[in-house]
């Protein structure tokens, strides 16, 4: 990249953009790849940021990471141009085939659900991961990112034709049917809890048992492996605060706060799933960048969830009398918990 003036600047910008088609990169990555100095790479990326060609997605004293503004990968995770291209090819052809088979507008939820079915059926290199509303192909359906027709295009097109008739294009049905098809028990449980929380507003106290039961079911379905222990802890803490509100008769009056906290918790849970599952699609040369993107997303969300859960705890009113259940089982549990207190 030696030369002078505007042409050199344009060439550098083009080469950088071309490199970034395979996913975000740090200033270091750019200077190594293009064999330019660190200062030149930094200046080029900053200039491209001003022009709106790239966006800085991680910015800390250790590293600065940039992605192409048109990069369609969710959270800017480093997927190759081929992976993104195949996903966009898939989306485009699903839309075309849908309009051949139906005159109804295709919902974006249905588009994603069909894309997942096809990607799994074709066993191609199109990433499929879990996200907020189930499994998705984690690429934004955009026309700005150019791509080439993949080599296995005929296989993909045939699969699209086969899969479309099994989709009715009703949002709730599409979601439920995917949860059932892929045995997404935690997601089904989440739906149950959301429903119980929404009904709570209408029915008041009689529906509390439904909330408690849905909450226990949700906790049972939460992952408890060592890698997910922080998530389980947060779910447990959330559940514990809800129980505190129920015991002190503060649940119904704070239902909106509870729902909001649950939405934020769910966002964190599914973001964790997303990064855990997409990791296998990320090349070894992009692992460092991937880890930084992952941390920047998860840490901020986790802090927010902790704050919300603590806030729920602050709503517990200790002046309300708590009547203990006196059935045999509850008494036995309390006795076990109090055992050995005299030795404390």
């Amino acid at each position: 990249m030696k030369g002078d003036g505007k042409t050199e600047g344009n060439e550098l910008s083009e080469a950088t953009s071309n490199f970034l088609l395979d996913g975000p990169a740090s200033i270091n990555d750019v200077c190594k790849k293009l064999d330019i100095s660190w200062a030149t790479a930094k200046a080029a990326l900053e200039e491209m940021t001003v022009k709106g060609i790239v966006k800085e997605i991680v910015s800390n004293p250790k590293i600065r990471i940039f992605k192409l503004s048109i990069d369609p990968a969710f959270y800017g995770v480093p997927l190759t141009r081929e992976q993104k291209g195949q996903a966009l090819f898939l989306f485009q052809n699903i839309r075309q085939e849908w309009h051949k088979q139906s005159d109804k507008p295709l919902l974006s939820t249905t588009l994603q659900k069909i894309a997942v079915d096809v990607a799994i059926e074709c066993k191609c290199d199109i990433p499929v991961v879990t996200f907020h509303y189930g499994m998705v192909v984690p690429v934004v359906d955009t026309s700005f990112f150019e791509y080439k027709t993949p080599v296995n295009s005929s296989q993909i097109l045939q699969s699209i034709k086969n899969v479309i008739p099994s989709h009715n294009n009703r949002c709730k049905d599409e979601i439920d049917s995917q949860y059932t098809k892929y045995k997404m028990f935690l997601f089904q449980s989440k739906e149950g809890l959301k429903e119980a929380l929404n009904n709570q507003k209408k029915e008041k106290d009689p529906s509390l048992e439904k909330v408690q039961s849905a909450l226990s079911d949700f906790l049972i379905k939460c992952p408890t492996d060592n890698k997910s222990y922080e998530l389980f802890d947060l779910c447990y803490n959330f559940s514990s605060k809800i129980n505190g509100l129920i015991l002190t008769k503060g649940f119904s009056s704070n239902i909106e706060e509870v729902k909001e906290a649950f939405d934020i918790l769910w966002d964190l849970i599914t973001t964790n799933f997303f990064f855990k599952e997409i990791e296998k699609y990320v090349g070894p040369d992009k692992k460092e960048v991937f880890e930084y993107i992952k941390s920047s997303q998860i840490l901020a969300k986790k802090a927010n969830v902790e704050e919300r859960i603590n806030y729920l705890g602050s709503l517990i009113n200790l002046s309300e009398e708590i009547k203990l259940p006196m059935d045999e089982e509850s008494i036995a549990i309390r006795r076990i918990l109090a055992e050995g207190a005299e030795e404390e």
């Binding site: 408690q212 039961s213 909450l215 226990s216 079911d217 906790l219 049972i220 939460c222 408890t224 060592n226 222990y229 389980f232 802890d233 447990y236 559940s239 514990s240 129980n243 505190g244 015991l247 002190t248 517990i316 200790l318 002046s319 708590i322 203990l324 259940p325 006196m326 089982e329 509850s330 008494i331 036995a332 549990i333 309390r334 006795r335 076990i336 918990l337 109090a338 055992e339 050995g340 207190a341 005299e342 030795e343 404390e344």
Partner: protein, 210 residues
């Protein structure tokens, strides 16, 4: 009359589990409801929150074991904070869960039981007790002498708080720990050091639940 409460009194009072400890504690508190109950800051701000945290971990460990029966209680990072007696409690609760078909209901029950206990203890402290001796004001010499004797820093801080408060206002200590909370232990710890003996001339009486 002023009663300086050991932590177990708070736990047994809030548990209402028909055990002899719990029955005797509730009887005592209700019989003396017009008296003043004192709790030291060390118990309310440090020791009790740690105990409550361990109870929460016990419940979480039981839930993990219910979800995955191959899970070994105490194997998680948090589980390592549990004492052997805590793990035994978790095992007992797990055994109880195995007798019940509806695991969701049982999980809800153990979570609720823990939360009830936690909130009732907090309520008792807020509504029925006066907090005394901030942690920073615990006499380090007094605490060290008691700790050397009992080999237990937690009891040492609580007892030191009680002795210090007793020298401000007359009180009786209430516990059921007959092994460590004894007049003889307190006298030994104080009289070993002439400065302490001079500083704390009054030694509080200790009463046991039964």
């Amino acid at each position: 009359m002023n009663w300086f409460l050991d932590m177990c009194i708070l736990i047994f009072y809030s548990s209402e589990d028909k055990s002899l400890f719990s029955v005797k504690t509730i009887e005592f508190i209700s019989k003396h409801q017009n008296d003043k109950f004192l709790v030291c800051y060390y118990i309310s701000e440090e020791n009790l929150p740690k105990w409550i945290k361990r109870q929460q971990i016990i419940i979480k460990e039981v839930i993990k074991k219910i979800i995955d029966s191959s899970y070994k209680i105490g194997d998680s990072e948090e589980g390592s904070f549990l004492y052997p007696k805590d793990k035994q409690k978790a095992e007992k609760l797990f055994i109880q869960s195995s007798l019940i078909d509806n695991k969701g209901l049982f999980i809800n029950k153990i979570q609720m039981s823990q939360k009830e206990q936690e909130l009732r203890i907090m309520q008792f402290i807020e509504q029925k007790t006066k907090k005394v001796i901030p942690i920073s004001e615990i006499d380090p010499d007094l605490k060290s002498n008691i700790a050397m004797l009992l080999k237990n820093h937690s009891d040492a801080k609580t007892l030191a708080s009680g002795i210090q408060q007793h020298n401000k206002e007359h009180l009786t200590m209430l516990t059921n720990d007959k092994k460590d909370w004894t007049k003889q232990n307190i006298e030994l710890a104080i009289n070993e050091n002439s400065k302490l003996a001079e500083k704390y001339p009054e030694i509080p009486e200790i009463k046991y639940l039964f």
